[in-house]
């Protein structure tokens, strides 16, 4: 039941007759008989829509929605303007396929072109692709872009997001190329260690700023070092922070990548998210995945098409540099709508608020005995020590509707966005003092 099949039983019979068959089973005449299941699947019977709704609502209710969140670490709760979900729920955008037939897909193609332009503006780069799966795979694909015959080793900052490191590690193992971690000093990439690690086999260096600990890295100094030794510089960025921080272009990066989730995507237990990739003019043709370009049509109209397709797998096959086929089109559109409605001022306002609230929280936490672990500037995340038992603290916060910072090795990684109000932060401090006063210090 409820199978979205339009043909009725009698219509099906008519159709079978037309093709000269007498039963549906005959359609599978080519399949070895003993393989046929004859409906012996061990899954429940289909249900009416109302029942399905109830079932999944019950499942959803088993999850705990935290009204207040102080945790980031790669997934951030930002305010999503109302128009964003309205636009990306439009049926046509939702149900369309890849815009292979340009004449009837100008809507999708133009929206991707606009997205590409916005990413270029954010990062200062010359070209962007139509997006990849997420920030971690974007970093892994960027590493692949930099491989040359004699240079295949990737140096990855140990201050990068653990999932980024792990994904790059898996991709490098898969391709059979080397990867080394650059040590961390005081919460930032150790540039003097990097200097010693760079050699003529180094293809690229990846540094994210802000990094996993929220710290702003010495990105310009890093760029100079890296280029001196002939390697490529991949810079990972946070798209909200990028509106107020020095662009990857200004820092000398060859490729800019990052996680686009903050640009209007719900937390959604980890996905779907958005990987953006942008490059200098010199590296543009090495970008993987789809790219939309501008041209004109037979009538002289401006037109958008998928272009530079001869880089891709459907043409190059085993000579392609990446197997990536699709992008995250609807998520890229989400990001574009978000940036369109926030505008440059709104983006920067969101960034300043993220940063300001984080500094307010850090100061208050310091007063409550949670000192900052690292020195240096941070954006909207920071690590503190914890004078109280972390597990107990998190439980207490949870009971009061707060998702605390992420427990990390020897500390807590806190995050604030524009959504954390001063009163929520003050309440957090109050709750922390409660735990501390109950004598649960270590």
């Amino acid at each position: 039941m409820g199978n979205y099949i339009s043909s009725t039983k009698s219509q099906s019979r008519e159709m079978l007759e037309e093709i000269g068959l007498s039963s549906m089973n005959e359609l599978y005449g080519q399949v070895p008989g003993h393989l046929l299941l004859h409906n012996n699947l061990d899954i429940p019977e289909g249900r009416a829509e109302m029942e399905v709704y109830d079932m999944l609502k019950k499942t959803a209710d088993k999850n705990h929605i935290f009204p207040v969140i102080f945790r980031g670490a790669g997934a951030y709760r930002h305010y999503i303007p109302a128009i964003v979900d309205t636009v990306v729920s439009k049926e046509t955008f939702l149900t369309a396929y890849t815009p292979y037939q340009a004449e009837i897909s100008q809507g999708i193609l133009q929206s991707i072109f606009e997205y590409q332009t916005m990413i270029c503006e954010l990062t200062g780069m010359s070209a962007s692709n139509a997006s990849v799966y997420d920030g971690a795979t974007a970093a892994a694909e960027a590493v692949a872009m930099c491989r040359e015959r004699k240079r295949t080793k990737a140096l990855i900052s140990a201050a990068a997001h653990p999932d980024v490191i792990e994904t790059i590690r898996t991709y490098c193992w898969s391709a059979g190329t080397g990867m080394e971690l650059i040590p961390v000093k005081d919460g930032k990439t150790d540039l003097s260690a990097l200097k010693n690690m760079l050699d003529e086999t180094t293809a690229c260096v990846y540094i994210g700023s802000p990094n996993y600990f929220g710290m702003l890295e010495e990105v310009e100094e890093a760029g100079a070092l890296i280029h001196e030794k002939g390697a490529k510089y991949i810079m990972g960025v946070n798209p909200i922070a990028a509106s107020i921080l020095k662009t990857p272009r200004e820092c000398g990066a060859d490729i800019a990548v990052g996680e686009g989730q903050p640009l209007g995507m719900h937390l959604g237990f980890g996905g779907p998210y958005l990987g953006f990739m942008a490059a200098t003019k010199a590296m543009t043709r090495k970008l993987p995945g789809r790219i939309v370009g501008e041209t004109f049509d037979s009538r002289g109209n401006r037109a958008y098409v998928l272009t530079l397709q001869a880089r891709e797998q459907h043409i190059r096959r085993e000579k392609a540099s990446s197997n990536i086929c699709s992008n995250q089109a609807l998520c890229a559109m989400t990001a574009a709508v978000y940036m369109a409605v926030m505008g440059p001022e709104g983006m920067q306002e969101a960034a300043y608020q993220c940063m300001s609230k984080a500094h307010y929280l850090a100061d208050e936490l310091e007063k409550a005995g949670f000192s900052l672990k690292y020195t240096g500037e941070f954006f909207h995340e920071f690590v503190t020590e914890s004078p109280v038992d972390v597990k107990m603290l998190m439980e207490h916060l949870e009971q009061n509707g707060i998702l605390g910072g992420l427990p990390v090795e020897n500390g807590i990684l806190w995050c604030t966005t524009e959504m954390n109000r001063k009163e929520d932060m003050d309440r957090l401090i109050h709750l922390i003092r409660e735990v501390a006063n109950n004598g649960t210090t270590i």
Partner: protein
């Protein structure tokens, strides 16, 4: 139509955020952005109208027939959108403690159980975000398995020449080399060629069944046997599962690992090119290599375990496109045991019915019954009258029908690959057949005219040579 940037008016903006309730802190000068941020300045009304205009210039399944072969453009049920919008799912942070996300873990765990049952696999990961991503993950499992067995000689992946381009590209990303085998005259795997190619350097075979011509590989048991006897593993590209879901299982055909395109077979929407989900299922002997974390059951609760020493690692951050998996689960609950098999059978019925109708004038490549898709060729017409597959596709645009897949598979010249799916009714198929046939007849009468098509769409044929020679990739 103007770009958002061209509609920008300096000073125009929305009031989205309240004023900051703490003291303003800015990055110090050395970190501050110097380059101006030139994003468009628009009102919400501007944005709303812009995207409504873009919507009118797009074609979705909601607009009409969409017979793109191998893409399975079936109807995307709206109840899936409702469940995927429940705040109990959308507002959940991926790093919440396990006991606060039992609902999410249940979604992943149930989806794993049902999809393993449907595919004949023992374990599944939802980390890959798309089919190609799933393929890479699967071949990584093979690589890890052979490495663990000390079988480092096994570096070749066999791929039929009818395969989708992602297959050979995936093999190379996994550090393997590709051995292409030419398909037989019937479009199926040539057993003799496969036997010759399979050896002690074979890591595996990647196969789609039914294949990209819509033909079921009737020798499938022999095919998987040959590869297994040579010590290799067999990978199932699940792009065409819609033909056989609930009817036959890849696991029973001898496949060791499969990927599913949830956005094809399991009705999650295509979104203009993503996000999808490339779930990867495998037999138990490969399960320990799956990306981490693994979900395990401990009594009455579900837990995420990162201590997986044999895992290939991660192929993406977090757990995959969760909200997409949720949509697929909703669909499985809706269709149920009988509905799934029924869907597959009707997909095959619709394809055969349409193929029969079109065979009155088009050259059909398939002989006999096809599966969920079939291929036409315009090779003869292209040579004799210069009417190509591209021309037919462009002419269809004027008739409100999305063209089929063109120029794929590569082994058929001037190919048109047609997949109606099970959600089309008989009257739509009749209407579509009429349109396809009338276009053909018009083209044969007046070949010059068809080169001008499309004529009623917002743009005519774009100059792709110029787009590639002089790339303008931003506004």
């Amino acid at each position: 139509m103007e770009l958002l940037f061209e509609k920008s008016v300096t000073g125009r903006k929305s009031h989205i955020l309240p004023e900051c309730d703490v003291a303003l802190v800015k990055p110090s000068v050395q970190f501050q952005r110097v380059q101006e941020l030139n994003l468009p300045e628009l009102s919400e009304n501007d944005v709303s109208r812009h995207y409504s205009a873009l919507e009118r210039r797009t074609y979705g399944v909601n607009n009409g027939f969409y017979p793109l072969g191998s893409c399975t453009m079936k109807y995307n049920p709206r109840i899936n959108e409702v469940t995927a919008s429940m705040p109990g799912f959308t507002e959940i942070h991926p790093l919440q403690p396990d006991h606060t996300v039992q609902g999410c873990l249940e979604v992943l765990s149930s989806a794993e159980k049902y999809l393993c049952e449907i595919t004949g696999m023992d374990a599944m990961t939802f980390q890959p975000a798309a089919g190609a991503h799933g393929e890479l993950t699967g071949i990584m499992l093979f690589k890890k398995y052979h490495e663990a067995n000390g079988d480092t000689r096994r570096t070749k992946i066999i791929v039929p020449d009818s395969a989708h381009g992602t297959n050979p590209a995936t093999a190379v990303m996994a550090g393997m080399t590709v051995v292409n085998i030419k398909s037989g005259e019937d479009g199926c795997v040539d057993l003799a060629k496969l036997r010759a190619a399979a050896g002690d350097d074979t890591a595996g075979l990647m196969l789609t069944n039914p294949n990209t011509l819509g033909i079921f590989e009737k020798d499938i048991l022999e095919i998987t046997k040959i590869v297994h006897e040579a010590g290799g593993l067999v990978y199932y590209d699940g792009a065409n599962l819609n033909a056989i879901m609930g009817v036959v299982r890849p696991g029973d055909m001898g496949f060791d690992c499969v990927h599913l395109n949830l956005h094809k077979t399991f009705s999650t929407p295509h979104g203009g090119g993503g996000p999808g989900s490339g779930a990867v299922g495998c037999k138990s002997f490969l399960a320990k290599y799956l990306p981490k974390p693994h979900i395990v059951t401990e009594g009455a609760t579900l837990k995420q375990v990162y201590d997986c020493p044999d895992s290939i690692g991660k192929v993406k951050s977090f757990y995959g496109n969760f909200l997409v998996v949720l949509r697929a689960l909703t669909y499985i609950h809706t269709l149920g045991r009988e509905g799934i098999a029924e869907g597959a059978a009707h997909a095959v019925l619709n394809a055969n019915y349409l193929m029969k109708k079109l065979s009155t004038c088009y050259h059909v490549v398939n002989k006999g019954i096809c599966m969920h898709e079939f291929v036409l060729t315009m090779e003869k017409e292209a040579k004799e009258s210069h009417v190509t597959a591209m021309d037919i596709a462009k002419a269809l645009l004027d008739k409100g029908i999305h063209p089929p897949t063109v120029y794929f598979p590569l082994i058929i010249p001037e190919a048109l690959m047609i997949e109606p799916t099970e959600t089309e009714g008989k009257e739509m198929l009749d209407q579509a057949a009429e349109i396809f046939i009338s276009i053909y007849q018009e083209a044969m009468k007046d070949p010059e005219r068809i080169h001008q098509k499309p004529e009623t769409t917002v743009i005519g044929r774009p100059d792709e040579v110029n787009a590639a020679r002089n790339p303008i990739l931003r506004g």
